[in-house]
Symmetry: C2
Subunit: 387 residues, 2 copies
């Protein structure tokens, strides 16, 4: 039996012989009850008690002062960049190994993503390579740091906690401080992940969470901007509700706002989901152990585990193929597809997408070497039945 | 009794003595059933059977080949402009009397809204004034028409069917044709409104519908782009799903897309709502008659009625104060607020918002004269109990 087939067999032993999708939501709580409440109240749209309750529960869980529920994680990132002062023509550092939305959020503002390399320990932004690159390209003038190769202002950095594994925030915070970069965390995948006891998304000025259908909890579509800064939270709420000034009847908008608030209907679903989060997290930890046991001794690769000092939510279980088995990836993915196993590769590295091929970039050797080695395995919490 | 108080009394006789909000959704159909189906299927996010069914029902009702369900009406407008070729630096004609989102959608693309006057018959774009203004400012060169005052390309026009009353589409279509302007209708408020037997939103290259909580049907938050053009519909669906190329596992995005698809959860609600649309339309027609009877003889103004050759959905009932009673508006709105009657004025004219104060504009005398005369009255269909 080929090594690829042995991996498929090992996976089927974990997820069951009929296969499993990559990530399915699990609705085993108050979902229907809260949706009914929502319909009975008639508050289904951007104002309603479930939005406020969901925001409060989120903020409490994450340990942050403010959560502003919005339409999706992309909107949260776009708004976070906008309200922290990123302007058209600025450069914003983005890892090349992230979902395309991280770069798109920068592009929507007329800013330019500048791609960074990632490291093997967590697939996140590599701080040493980042600092070395800044030493090479950043030059200081009275208004801050500029890229001496392009002349553009270096405005911000967006580390993504890839598949839920926390980035090395201590060193990233230090770099952002030293180079006066706004730090916005892309915590879209990392609800439930902690770095040295603090929740991911609480180290910068603001962060984005996502509750898309494939995330650890879902609101159908949705996201949140989280921040400890009252002024930023107030501005985020204002700008995501078309920047309308409060008035019982008059319509006045004091800036170009967005229609980005999360509807109450979606928040009702989210509220039921967040009540189940700790169970989901337990299941995903158990699932990691099952996968580790199942692939032990195959000699195909290793399961990615939380870096020391962090707690990962294990949103997507990640197999890192060995260097000498990486060539099997396409074969594995094709066989998995036949067997109805939802495996998938890493996102195509963003600097290699035609639309971002002209964006500035640091040397990206590590990301390019890692990319062919990554395979996500089915990760739904319900693969592990609740105790 | 003052004239303002007489109007308040007349309104209370129609809506009931405890008052009524401006517009509340009415959930008297399959809302809970479809939401339960949706939860049971686990498809709550951007892929799912309810989205497809809702799109099909919408397209069938409107009489258009394609409907693409999206996050909201603003997103539908932004995408419609983008895929029909509006570029950064172009000018797009927008009525000054519309919700701010119409202009914002233009601004998001880096284009510039150019404000137009409106007429009394339907509060929509005034075709005679528009043509006269174009004769004054438009000059032709090889690439199309430019604004000779600013040098910018004149790219598109977005007539809004205000409060559901159809614009004079025959003449607007002719102007768009003569001046090579892309025609995108803002039909956010006009689901159920027809011009000479054809649904609003079917006269241009594409149009935007809205299903926000205050609209004639709601999905919580949501909208749709409608078009008869297969290529535009395909592109709209692609670009609203992050421009990901179809593939069972790989992630490739061939342009800067958006995360704008309507979640299946919201479409489930919309499906239940569209089944009730004809009842809502009947109720709103009856409501108009009640208001007409109630204010007859007060000498305060007239109810806005559908222009000849059109059928309005009467989304928001609209009282047009007489010229000599317009000064009562603020007093009326304040008293209505005290009595828990959801009345509201016209939107502040967009050219008078500080954020759009520097945008180009046609002469806007008619809009400025009309603005102080408009008051919307409570318009929920459930004010008229179903037969």
């Amino acid at each position: 039996m080929s090594l690829a087939d042995q991996l498929i067999d090992a996976t089927l032993r974990v997820v069951g012989q009929s296969g499993a999708p990559l990530h399915e939501p699990c609705f085993a709580g108050n979902e229907k009850r809260y949706l009914e409440e929502c319909i009975d109240s008639t508050f289904v749209s951007s104002v309603g008690p479930h939005v406020e309750r969901f925001e409060k529960e989120l903020a409490r869980y994450v340990g942050v002062r403010h959560a502003v529920a919005v339409a999706n994680g992309t909107a949260a990132l776009q708004v976070a960049l906008h309200i922290t002062g990123v302007k058209s023509g600025d450069e914003v550092f983005v890892p090349t190994a992230t979902f395309v939305a991280t770069a798109n959020a920068v592009t929507y503002l007329g800013a330019i993503p500048h791609f960074l390399d990632c490291g093997e320990v967590n697939l996140g932004l590599d701080p040493d390579a980042f600092r070395a690159w800044l030493a090479h390209i950043a030059e200081y003038d009275s208004s801050g740091y500029r890229n001496r190769l392009t002349g553009r202002r270096l405005a911000a950095v967006i580390p993504t906690h890839v598949f839920g594994h926390p980035c090395d925030m201590e060193r990233i915070v230090a770099i952002a401080h030293d180079f006066k970069l706004v730090l916005i965390e892309d915590a879209a995948e990392s609800l439930g992940s902690f770095y040295r006891g603090y929740h991911t998304g609480t180290f910068g000025m603001a962060a984005a969470l996502s509750f898309n259908g494939n995330k650890i909890i879902t609101t159908g579509g949705g996201g949140a901007l989280i921040t400890n800064d009252f002024a930023l939270a107030t501005r985020a709420k204002h700008i995501t509700t078309t920047a309308k000034k409060p008035h019982p009847w008059a319509y006045e908008h004091d800036e170009v706002g967005y229609n980005f608030r999360m509807p109450n209907l979606n928040a009702a679903l989210g509220l039921a989901q967040i009540e189940q989060l700790s169970g989901f997290l337990d299941a995903k930890r158990t699932l990691l152990q099952r996968y580790k046991n199942a692939i032990a001794g195959l000699g195909i690769g290793t399961m990615l585990e939380e870096p020391e000092g962090t707690t990962s939510n294990y949103w997507l279980q990640t197999l890192l193929l060995d260097r000498d088995t990486a060539s099997l990836r396409e074969d594995i993915l094709a066989r998995a597809h036949e067997k109805r196993i939802g495996m998938r590769p890493l996102w195509r590295l963003l600097h290699s997408l035609p639309v971002y091929s002209k964006s500035p970039r640091a040397p990206l050797e590590r990301a390019e070497a890692l990319e062919p080695r990554v395979i996500n395995l089915p990760s739904s919490p319900q693969i592990i039945p609740p105790k």
